[in-house]
Symmetry: C3
Subunit: 166 residues, 3 copies
């Protein structure tokens, strides 16, 4: 009676957690949550991907990344009437205010957050369809962008992970 | 010694992946990501649901679906001062520009994306609470809408799947 | 031949489902989906967390919670030209209209939804970084807020759950 019954143990799924962020907005106030979450997750050992699409392209466009703005119009969170918010210069003023407050609290800039993200292994993907529609080229991007992919590739890489749409 | 020890193999979880999208925005630039993601996932064998709520109702409202707009105000991604963006006609112009660019790149229209979605088995659900609040009736919707459900039903159908809020 | 081969059954993962909502917007039309989903999930036995960040802070700020607004500008879903939407008073009017419609349909107020949420065990977390940047203090919040946490803590508590970014 020497039959060795090999019972394959239930695997403990030691696989890494995965966070996949779709960034569809091109404003400073939405770029921040994307990278804050990405970097926090990466620091905890997550595999992290950010897929830039639509207005989110601004954040990886080297001609725009340093001039991301906060919207002053249509954001009722700001204590000013809409007409005032619509005056030229108001968006710039609100953006400057937020940037100053962040600098005072030593919150890193988006450039710095991207640097940290890359060091932690976060992958940055540009949406190929958006590039076609907006006439963007690979050379328009910051060098930190890893590759250019379509929605199908993104779905594939997000399989089994958490997905956040910003 | 003929005992056959039947060891049930650890199941390979052959269950389908599931993607559930909540579309709460009624603009062209947010309807696109919803259907691009839905259709890419459906093409890969995912079970896909889209739950239309709040402004997202526009996308299934047969009186509005062909006139979805891109916001020109409060979108600092666009290279124009807010006051200019607030001039009547600017939203229409920006929308026309985007539609033209998309047509040139042979990006399907929202109508076409919905057709593809349905053929691939994507389910479209209208939010019952929003219908009550906005005074919408079933007859106001495009025929592709599958049913009218509440938040509880949506939570139930999304169980175990990925959820994206747009 | 009495060997008892103990085959450990594949566990049925009886763990609770978990829903983690990040609320980054400070408008009435986005606070509603957050609490409607949170409360529906909690009623079905989910563990539910809401993490308030950026403009979402308005929703737990006791000086602002009763005056959350719907944006009339930059929301092409509303049937009015942008310039009209930019006139002072329009945001207030649109907000009043929506509130009236909701009251008629007996949709609970945000205050009421928060009360229900808390009774159902939903946890409310304030983002520490946003507090620093915006100069907010614990005393500025409604008492229903459970604690103040950073992005890392949120990632940790969302592990294995569904994450929704609003």
């Amino acid at each position: 009676m020497t039959q060795a019954t090999v019972v394959k143990p239930v695997e403990e799924t030691p696989q890494t957690s995965k966070l996949c962020i779709i960034l569809s907005k091109g404003t400073l106030d939405m770029a921040y949550p994307a990278f804050m979450l990405a970097n926090a997750a990466a620091a905890m050992g997550y595999e992290v991907h950010i897929f830039f699409t639509f207005w989110g392209m601004n954040v990886i466009d080297k001609r725009k990344i340093d001039n991301l703005k906060v919207s002053s119009v249509g954001n009722p969170a700001l204590p000013m009437p809409n007409l005032l918010g619509a005056l030229p210069g108001m968006t710039a003023m609100v953006t400057r205010m937020l940037k100053n407050k962040m600098a005072k609290q030593r919150v890193p800039t988006i450039r710095e957050l991207i640097k940290t993200a890359k060091e932690a292994g976060v992958k940055l993907h540009a949406c190929s369809t958006t590039m076609d529609v907006m006439g963007l080229k690979k050379e328009d991007f910051i060098p930190e962008v890893d590759d250019i992919v379509g929605a199908a590739s993104f779905i594939q890489m997000s399989e089994g992970g958490q997905v956040i749409f910003i």
